[in-house]
Symmetry: C2
Subunit: 226 residues, 2 copies
Amino acid sequence: MTKRSYHPTDGRTGNGAASDAIRERRAAIEDLGAALRTLLQVSASTEAGADEIRLAAAELRRVTGPLAASVRTRAQQPSADDLLGGIRMYNPVSGTGSGLAPPVDAEVVDGVVVGTCTLGLAYEGPPTYAHGGVSALLLDHMLGYATTASGHPGMTVELTTRYRAPVPLQTPLRLTGRVTEVLTRKVIAHGTIATAADPDTVLVEATGTFVAIRPEKVRALWGSGP
Amino acid sequence: MTKRSYHPTDGRTGNGAASDAIRERRAAIEDLGAALRTLLQVSASTEAGADEIRLAAAELRRVTGPLAASVRTRAQQPSADDLLGGIRMYNPVSGTGSGLAPPVDAEVVDGVVVGTCTLGLAYEGPPTYAHGGVSALLLDHMLGYATTASGHPGMTVELTTRYRAPVPLQTPLRLTGRVTEVLTRKVIAHGTIATAADPDTVLVEATGTFVAIRPEKVRALWGSGP
């Protein structure tokens, strides 16, 4: 993976040249990401009493302190990332270091990006089902991944999400993304969400239009480029 | 707020009949939500070393333990919530108890839902900007809120998000949502994302179609109804 893209194709592997120190730090970040995700799902489902919850909040603030002592600014990329190598530890959909991400685990199978994830109770919209916006978030990622994997990375300009049936929580899901059309600078991609148990019944689908970023636009957005 | 809706119109207020115990528990949940959100943003931006990160992960697992001792199942609603009263403490967009939510704070102003939020580094997609799917997530919420506030709550059937310019992180944002058309069972709504500093320059916009849920569908999805 050497293509420049803002859609990571893999949050965990790649970069054979990484030093042992970076590898060790990435493993620690994944460990923290996993602990954060468990905490987040538990916090959205705990029936603990007010005192216990207040105590947990105080302890979290204490744990946060040392981590906050050295933080990057918005203009700095995480030192554990390898942007051009496709490693984004904190991507909010696929990042194994992200507390927000389910995370989605995806790979290219016969030209189609196939992903898996399970959404915990923290993603709840209508009772017992995932928030509709979360489905759009997952599908934007799958489509972006597909465009990058096809060799036509770009940024989303339009995303249409169609909801056929609600997406159940705590249920293994199967996601897909594939490029359906490549125009001069525009790429159209399509993606789906189904349960892993019934992959042929599409619950949500999306069609997206992605556009390659012109060099002058890259300069306008990121100065000399990210 | 007594309308049945799965789009909360306010995650914090309402329910005048709530007991002191519920009020106290909601305040504790908000406290934990705030601590979680800070932790999440810090964890996505920390440059702490591997050992420090591993230690934080271990401490988080320890804090999670007591909270995990008593958790609801997917079929149970949080006891702190008041679904019909519009209180959803853990909504992934607006819930003040949610670690995932920015959270979006919104209210109806002259018939338009106006919301504010600031996205931290955990929401990063392209470097220094918000993930495109996060914008769709925010707008789905704003449109759902607008349909509920207009007296026509429903579930999203289609959402089209158009990206005009990237959404900056760590920058106060202004969101809007308004109903543009009410048909028999269908409601069309439109929403925008801009910065608070330049509210007239739309960065992302969305149009959504929402459909009222028939009673037989409510029974099919939730049995006797949520």
